[in-house]
């Protein structure tokens, strides 16, 4: 028999936050996307020149996939049941059993074969999250946090994306809420989340992460045109902006989201200082957008040597200073 849950779907800017927020809402715990993002310490920066994807060094504005999820469940004391299945058909059977029991189930999927995704976004990226909450006329009902509305997938389509191959291959990974405390202790969780982000951004003693990482990238960008030639330098720089602006990874977008988190946190903790800081991080977001404009222009003029690299590098240094000041203040505000 087909069973349809009363599952409410809200669109979000980042899939991991969105799935957690949507799943918890089903159990009566109303936690917004920015709240999940802040408590899960989703703001980060890293530039790792030795780690390459398609021959281009990785710059990332987020922690590894799955980490926000891990942190939020620890900090809000929500227990998730998690499973991976070696056999695709068994993974689908287990999903059906879950749906029969009325459990909305989150899972990891690959984006490339997701039929409802717009083509320009369909790369072989495997750490996308969505919730399956029912089955109707042999079609699975999907709450994909990136989409504005519900979507559906057939058995074979869903099986295929659950068994995408490559980096972060999901292997049918699925998860659902097993136990939750009813009303979580938000105050404590918020403070933990903020402290962790400050620590990540300020004190990791390796120059590739946090504020230091931004300065490191600045140094590298300055050298790109001479070291790599016009075309390749443009590709390298374009990759940074793609990491920054594409769905689920955002640089500027994440700063704004963090601002939204701080505003909410200011209300919960009754600390006005956090609200003031939310405007400051919004300004930092604006700077990141400026950076995207400069680098976008570099990419547009990709076949010519361009002098904007220095401007981009200078801007990064400015951003690094702003973020350093911001996180020092933030650390003080909650201690």
């Amino acid at each position: 028999m087909d069973k349809i849950l009363n599952f409410e779907h809200k669109q979000s800017a980042h899939c991991e936050n969105g799935v957690v927020s949507n799943l918890l809402r089903y159990y009566g715990i109303e936690i917004s996307e920015p709240m999940v993002f802040g408590i899960g310490s989703g703001l980060f920066f890293s530039h790792m020149p030795f780690l390459k994807v398609n021959g281009i060094p990785v710059t990332s504005f987020r922690p590894l996939p799955g980490i926000i999820f891990k942190r939020i469940s620890k900090r809000l004391r929500i227990k998730f049941e998690k499973h991976k299945y070696p056999k695709p058909d068994i993974a689908m059977q287990e999903l059906d059993k879950n749906l029969e029991k009325g459990i909305p189930t989150g899972m990891l999927v690959g984006v490339y074969h997701l039929t409802y995704f717009p083509d320009p976004y369909r790369f072989h990226f495997n750490a996308h999250n969505l919730v399956v909450y029912g089955k109707e006329n042999d079609k699975y009902l999907i709450s994909d946090p990136i989409m504005e509305e519900f979507r559906t997938l057939t058995y074979n389509e869903l099986k295929r994306v659950r068994y995408a191959k490559g980096t972060f291959a999901p292997n049918g990974h699925m998860y659902w809420v097993k136990e939750h405390p009813g009303r979580p202790n938000l105050e404590q969780a918020i403070i933990k989340g903020i402290k962790h982000t400050c620590k990540d951004m300020l004190t990791i003693p390796i120059p590739m992460f946090g504020v230091k990482g931004i300065r490191f990238l600045s140094k590298k960008i300055r050298k790109y045109p001479k070291k790599l030639g016009a075309r390749k330098a443009a590709s390298y720089t374009g990759q940074i902006v793609r990491a920054q602006e594409e769905i689920g990874t955002g640089g500027a977008g994440f700063r704004y989201m963090y601002g939204a988190f701080l505003q909410e946190a200011a209300g919960v903790l009754k600390k006005k200082a956090l609200k003031d800081l939310s405007y400051e991080i919004s300004d930092v977001g604006d700077k990141w957008r400026q950076f995207a404009v400069i680098t976008g222009r570099i990419v547009k003029n990709r076949n010519k040597a361009d002098e904007s690299y220095d401007a981009a590098a200078d801007l990064l240094l400015e951003i690094a200073d702003m973020e350093e000041k911001f996180f020092i203040k933030l650390k003080k505000a909650i201690s």
Partner: protein, 151 residues
């Protein structure tokens, strides 16, 4: 960023399938989300990435038609894969996949192996070996953004 400043530069990157929520400040200084259809700097870098991919597909297509590479090489590029990923999807060794990109080895492949490739590319075995199919598919071209707003 203010809500009124959230850019709406449509380059059809989302093909009307969704709009992206952007957190921004409303007139009372509270954060809210506004849905955006796109932003030109971002559109530009995405198009650049696709331009590089399309160039690669086009040059591989030429080589396949010229008989330097097997049709697998073309379908591999078209599906945005590399040898490692295709090896994982087919369950074959990487060095074997590399070998099958050469027509010499491709022509000797058994039906079982061909079927594995065909399934991954969502083709039939006869379509997989069909050079006319490769010829008939126009190489993709990347669109250009004409309007570049100054910031």
């Amino acid at each position: 960023m203010k809500s009124t400043e959230v850019p709406q530069d449509d380059a059809n990157m989302m093909q009307g399938k969704f709009r992206e929520p952007v957190y921004s400040l409303d007139k009372n200084g509270n954060f809210t989300t506004v849905r955006s259809v796109g932003w030109n700097p971002k559109n530009e870098v995405m198009l650049e990435a696709w331009d590089a991919i399309n160039q690669k597909i086009a040059s591989t297509r030429e080589k396949v038609i010229a008989g330097e590479l097997s049709p697998i090489a073309y379908h591999l590029e078209k599906n945005l894969m590399d040898v490692g990923l295709l090896a994982k999807y087919t369950g074959l060794w990487k060095f074997k996949v590399k070998r099958h990109l050469k027509p010499k080895y491709f022509n000797k492949l058994s039906n079982d192996i061909l079927l594995k490739y065909a399934e991954v590319f969502e083709l039939s075995v006869s379509e997989l070996g069909d050079l006319n199919l490769v010829r008939s598919e126009q190489p993709p071209t990347t669109m250009k953004i004409k309007k570049w707003i100054k910031y």
